[in-house]
Every structure is written in C-alpha cells, then in structure tokens.
C-alpha cells in the first residue's frame, strides 16, 4: 500500500524546517540572483509562487561546478596527498523536477560504472529527492518525448503533486516511505485529493507540445555522422559557448587542474564542456577543432553514444539548452531534421 499524504501549502515552511533538522535541505531560491537550489533558510516557502524550474540544474548539489579532489604539500620527505574529509552529510533536494531527477540517474550510469567516482557517488547516495511535478511546463520542455512526463517518479524518493491548496506527497522509494512516515505533521490524503492530483497530472502532460521522434534516432545519427554539410549547416548559428552543456542536467564532463599555493596546492575538478575547442585539444592536434564537429559530438553523445552504451538517451527534455541559448539553437529542430 503506497503512502499518500497531504501537505498544506501554508505549512510547507514548517515542514522544511522539520526536515532541516535531519538533512541539509535544498529548495528553489532566487537569493543569488538566479533560480537555483539553495539551502533552505527558514520562513515562508514562497518559491511555489514563481518556481517552474531552476536555471542551474540541481545536479550541482551532487556534482558541483568546482570541487577539490585532494591537496598536495611538499616537505623534506617528499609529497603528501590528502583528500578532503568525506562529505557524508544527508541532503534533501526539495522540489526537484522529474526531468532533473531522471538526469541524475543518467549521470549515475557513467559515474557508477567501472571505477566508481567516489566524490559524486557519496553525495549522490546521501541525497534524497523529493520531487515536485510540473503544472506549468515551459514551451521549451519536451520530457514526454523521452519517456518522461511532468509527474514522472523515476529516481524520486517522494513525489509531490500540486493540487492547489496543498501538495499531495506520495512515497516512491523505501527511503521516501520512511521519510513520510516519520514526518509527524502530515495528514493522509483524501480520495478527492487523489482525483484532483490525477487531473493535474493529465492537464500538465497535455501542455507539452514540443516533440522529437526518438524511434531509431541512434541509427539515424550514425547514418549521418559523416554528413559534414548537414552538421556544418546545423552548427552555423551556434556560437560555441558552454551554456547548453554546463547547464544541462545530464552533462557530467569535467576538467582536472592543479592550483598552486606557496607550500603545495590543490587538484580541483570543474565542469567542462565539449563545446569548447580546448576540451579535446592536444599540443599537436585537435580531433574536434571545428565547431560542427563539437556540435555533432554533443548531439550524438546524448542521442547515439549513450543509447549504445547504456541503452538510455542522455537527455531528459528539460529544455534548458533551448531556453537559455543566446541564439535559440534548438536541439529538437536538429533531431527532427536529420537526413534520411
């Protein structure tokens, strides 16, 4: 029997306060000048008034833009390396959207595969996802084309549906079940609430009109890999910046660099982007020196290579790359116009 409870919107602040005792709670905020997930500061949960999605995807909570991998110091005995203390704090992301939650499961595939990426996995395993379904998706959203939907529960622990005066909370995972059970304040949802939620879900899904045909898309991309003219034309207006990758919830590529201090230094990793020519540049050559090659790599990585490797398209249709692109380069248009 699934657990379904109701949270009155006016009590949401109190609920987040309560959860903040056991978790570092992240919730949507514009305090930094941009919509992103930030540590809950208490007070009224007013973000429901404006929140559609964040600009910075919530992946940055488990995969920060910048992190220290280890520090090194030199003494007479030689170099000594030290990793930062393991971060095993429990986190809870409140209000993560289904597209962004599913994106984490896509990053898990790479970071959990073969050699585990401990830095990421530790944070990921300690992070609870309390998702909030979308009632008002953007015109750039296309999650439904990729097997998701505005109330998809994949990888969530708890899923919330906005039913007007309150949020209907449904446990998805065992952890989510435990969370809801031990949260004292919650009332059980009524049959009427559930009907309302069902209607909300259906209405939201109908609002999404952007679409791509994913059937056979990996094969199509493979077939046009060598079609230089197509990719050049496709890439013509792209300015080659890193917005679509750095702010993509599924993009995980990074750079590693050393930073010196007087007596040693740190090795850091920071998110990187395949849109940059230096990304693949070696001193003597660069296999993707041209913009069209980089655009092709970005598209193919998501829609061809990832399906080949993990049987999953590495895109969840969050639409950020379309919304935030300074020249409105639209990946759905490219995918819908593949030759052949």
């Amino acid at each position: 029997m699934s657990i379904i409870k109701k949270i009155a919107k006016k009590d949401l602040g109190k609920l987040l306060d309560e959860w903040s005792r056991d978790f570092t709670v992240f919730s949507p905020s514009k305090a930094s000048g941009i919509a992103r997930m930030e540590v809950w500061q208490g007070g009224e949960a007013s973000f429901l008034d404006w929140y559609r999605n964040t600009v910075i995807p919530p992946k940055d909570i488990v995969l920060p833009l910048l992190e220290e991998m280890f520090s090194f110091s030199k003494s007479e005995e030689g170099y000594k390396l030290e990793t930062p203390p393991a971060d095993d704090s429990k986190r809870l992301i409140f209000g993560i959207r289904p597209c962004d939650a599913r994106a984490l499961s896509i990053i898990d595939m790479t970071y959990g595969d073969g050699y585990q990426d401990n830095y990421y996995m530790q944070r990921r395993n300690n992070t609870l996802l309390v998702g909030l379904g979308c009632t008002n998706p953007y015109d750039s959203c296309f999650c439904t084309a990729l097997g998701g939907n505005p109330h998809d529960t994949t990888t969530m622990d708890v899923m919330l549906t906005d039913i007007g005066d309150g949020l209907l909370a449904e446990a998805v995972s065992q952890t989510g079940k435990e969370l809801l059970q031990k949260t004292a304040e919650l009332k059980a949802a009524t049959e009427e609430d559930r009907t309302k939620a069902e209607n909300v879900k259906q209405a939201a899904e109908k609002k999404i009109s952007r679409n791509i045909e994913t059937e056979g898309i990996a094969e199509k991309l493979r077939a046009c890999f060598e079609d230089k003219e197509f990719w050049q034309q496709t890439a013509a207006k792209c300015v080659g910046c890193g917005i679509c990758t750095l702010l993509c919830p599924t993009c995980y590529c990074f750079d590693i660099s050393d930073e010196k201090t007087e007596d040693g230094g740190v090795r850091v990793r920071s998110l990187d982007s395949c849109s940059f020519s230096v990304y693949t540049k070696m001193p003597m050559e660069n296999p993707r020196s041209e913009k069209w090659q980089r655009v092709r790599n970005r598209v193919c990585h998501k829609y061809e290579y990832y399906p080949m490797l993990f049987d999953t398209i590495a895109c969840t249709g969050c639409g950020r790359c379309i919304r935030l692109c300074p020249v409105n380069w639209d990946i759905t248009q490219t995918l819908n116009s593949l030759p052949g």
Binding site: G78, Y79, Y111, Y115, D272, T280, M284, Y305
Partner: protein
C-alpha cells in the same frame, strides 16, 4: 560497441579513489632525442613497488604536482619489472614540466588504465610491428614482452621510422633488435639527412616494400595520426583484414577512467575501451574524428 563487450576493465590496484595518484620517484632519465626523454621510475611505497602489475599497452596518468597531469603509456615491458618507464616528448605544459625534473624528483602516477594488448590473441601469430617516432613507446613494451617469451610467437617484423636519424627513439633497443636474428628489423627515416646510412622513406611506403605476409599475422601500428591513416590502407593491400590490425590511440585525457568525457571517438572511450583497438572497431570514425 555495447555494454557487453567493454567488460575488459581492470580492477584498480590498492586504493579506492582512482583520482588519487601514487607517489613515484624518478630513478633515471635517458635523452632519446633532443625533445624526448625516457624516465625510469619506481613507486615510493614498498608494497606497491612489489605488487604493481600491468600489461603492455596500458597507460598511466602522470602528475607534476602544481602543474597537472598528462597521459603516457608504460613503455617498459611487464617482463622486466626492476622499474617502470615512460617516454615524454616535450610539447605542452606538463611535458615541459616533466622535462625540467631531475633524478630523485617525485611525480604522481595513476594507473594502470586501459585494456593493453590482447596477448592471448597474439600468441602463436606472426607479428608485424609498425611504428613512427615516439609511437614506438607502447609497442616497445609489447616487443620486449614478446622477445622475452619468444617461443610463444611466430615470425616478427618490425618497421620503425622517424623524421630524421636524430628523431629515432630507443636507439639502444633498435641496435639490439637489429642484431637479434629471431626477428626482422627495418629502420627508416623520412628523408636522407646526410648522416644516415640506412633506409629512407615514409613508414607506410617502407612497410609496403617489406611486404610482410598477412597469413596468420597480426599487425600492430602506432605513430602519429597521419602515419596511422596511411598505414592501414597499405596493410589492407598486403591482405590484412581490419581484425588483423591493432593500434593504440592517443587522445587528450583527464580522468583516464571513462568519466571526464573528452577522449571519445564516437561511442568508444579511448581511456576505458582502449587505448588498444582493432582497426575494425574504429574504422567508421577514424577519418573524421581522429
């Protein structure tokens, strides 16, 4: 390539954090060419020094702390484990920093990473090694490996070339191999430079003249991309099938373990699925992304 046939990933040795280097000490430096050095090194940790194993063709991520990391294959053979070796051409930030180090300096090493040469598939075969410039480094590990287990293999042909006689690497090995009657060694330089008494001509042409038989043979190719691109067609002409041609690829790498993204050729990650590939695996991509 699907998830099933990339299962040759090796278990990482001794520690969980694959991003954390082992400290190693440089024991000897050999000047190969004016811009290439070979470093002999050993791990500082005694236990690791004893237990470290690798396969020919595998690579490591080498750190100069404060400058960064760079990728090089292990150029010594696992059959000769007094120390490990890698060869560095001075081309960028990290390689320049390595060239400034002296004997006794400490570096970081992560690895071994990558798949290495499939020895089980080479056993009993005739082997044709084709290398250019510093591309001999990974092949050298395999060549010594094969020589040290000579009875396991058939005929051996080596074709090695460089731009000029001064650019030939591992001259001390070349001399030994030239004397070794169990193998056929051909060394060439691109253009006659006045001092060179041997063959001249580009590696692919010299290979074509040498014309090793494709029967029961595997060709192993490594060198600059342009040499690789011209060598495969020659091998095909000589009757080698794409499955009979192996190469080891070089790409910009950061993590070495298939996470950071940049070394892909299509859906193949050179660090994780390679660096050793058969031509059959990469021929779809080689013209446009390599």
């Amino acid at each position: 390539m699907t998830i099933d046939n990339i299962s040759h990933r090796k278990k990482f040795l001794a520690q969980d954090n694959a991003y954390l280097p082992h400290i190693a000490v440089i024991e000897k430096i050999i000047e190969e060419t004016p811009d290439t050095l070979t470093f002999h090194f050993n791990f500082k940790d005694e236990k690791l020094k004893q237990e470290f194993t690798f396969e020919s063709g595998q690579f490591g991520e080498y750190s100069v702390f404060g400058v960064g990391e760079a990728t090089f294959c292990i150029s010594s053979s696992p059959t000769r484990r007094q120390h490990l070796e890698f060869a560095v051409k001075r081309v960028g930030k990290v390689t320049n920093a390595l060239h400034r180090l002296g004997v006794g300096a400490e570096i970081g090493f992560r690895g071994p990473f990558g798949n290495g040469f499939p020895l089980d598939k080479l056993k009993g075969k005739n082997l044709v090694f084709v290398a250019g410039g510093i591309g001999l480094a990974p092949l050298r590990s395999l060549i010594w490996n094969v020589i040290d287990n000579r009875k396991d293999y058939g005929k051996i042909d080596i074709v090695y070339g460089a731009r000029s006689s001064a650019d030939l690497c591992f001259k001390y090995d070349l001399e030994q191999w030239a004397k070794d009657e169990s193998l056929k060694m051909t060394t060439t330089i691109d253009r006659d430079d006045g001092q060179w008494k041997g063959k001249t001509g580009f590696v692919p042409q010299v290979l074509e003249q040498a014309a090793p038989s494709a029967k029961d043979a595997v060709a192993v190719v490594c060198g600059p991309p342009v040499m690789i691109r011209f060598t495969f067609p020659v091998l095909e002409k000589l009757g080698f099938t794409p499955e009979q041609m192996l190469t080891t690829l070089e790409k910009k790498m950061k993590c070495g373990i298939g996470k950071c993204g940049r070394c892909n050729i299509g859906d193949i990650y050179v660090c994780r699925d390679g660096p050793v590939f058969s031509y059959a695996q990469i021929k779809d991509f080689i013209s446009s992304e390599y």
